[in-house]
Symmetry: C2
Subunit: 187 residues, 2 copies
């Protein structure tokens, strides 16, 4: 299978890093705990007068490069590759591309090594990319065409209104993607 | 139609810039005139003891950002968009991605404006990208799958051994892509 894996909030813990940095910089300011997040774009969960600050923080130098991995994600991708699947990192630049583009490449190199950098596919429109599965936290993914892939949701509080699609985390991905393999063996 | 357009040596004149810079830096050194180029990867046209220098030059800071546009290419892309086609810039990082990734984004912004940066699709494997046509100077394009697109060759001396495929330059692209529209009108 060709498995496309999103980066922000799927492999790289954007929200954890953003909240941590936000509370460091603005300890007395309003904040949204991770479990209370309701919007895909984090800044939309904040009142308007704080949105520019959130934006600047996400786009600051080093922010993307230093995102912590989501627990279990790196191991999951490596295991998929070992099982013979073709994994591609399917991501996009942020609103301002200056830091995010190169830092996403660095992030992949840092966590997966140089060779896997060649598995990056960067696009604003993921429907243009061929694949069997796209694992992505974004609630609804639209674009120019009807995608080839099945969108499997990476579970996050702000996408739980979406039903009728497979949903996984890096703790249960084997059961969700390969249920036939995780049935108890007949004895 | 979805028209994928390659960047290096299709929209951006990599070979012209490389030769010019090479002759500036090493005026007494061997060089290959543009019309005598025989290989897709420029360094392979040079003797082995010079290949590292060619490599360094291509990867030097500012090289990609400052590539001159191939004459007529920018106007052609703009006209395709005006005609209602969906054009995507379909490119890849160089062997070392450090400068090339961000500088390719800057190049598109500089020549097409910020909005068209969102039409960049970066991938090492173009067969993963859906499209009707891919305009690319690379003689043979392979990858994980049989591509959806027709590969229309952007004419260069080093790809003239390829026959049986449509071939164009930015001087004749309308006749090649839309021959029915360029027939003389019946009177």
């Amino acid at each position: 299978m060709i498995i496309l894996v999103d980066m922000d909030n799927t492999l790289a813990d954007f929200d954890v890093a953003l909240l941590e940095r936000w509370r460091e910089l603005y300890p007395n300011e309003f904040h949204v705990p991770l479990e209370k997040r309701t919007t895909f774009y984090t800044f939309l969960d904040y009142p308007e007068h704080l949105q520019d600050k959130i934006h600047d923080l996400c786009h600051s130098e080093g922010f993307i490069r230093n995102l912590p991995p989501v627990e279990g994600g790196i191991e999951a991708v490596k295991e998929m590759l070992e099982r013979g699947h073709d994994v591609r990192f399917c991501s996009s630049h942020l609103f301002q591309y200056d830091n995010s583009v190169l830092e996403k490449y660095r992030w992949i190199e840092q966590h997966f090594g140089r060779k896997l950098v060649d598995r990056i596919v960067f696009t604003r429109d993921k429907t243009l990319i061929h694949g069997d599965i796209l694992i992505d936290d974004k609630p609804a993914i639209s674009g120019l065409r009807k995608p080839d892939w099945e969108h499997v949701i990476y579970d996050r509080p702000y996408n739980r209104q979406i039903t009728g699609q497979r949903r996984l985390t890096w703790a249960n991905w084997r059961d969700i993607l390969f249920p036939e393999e995780t049935e108890p063996a007949a004895t």
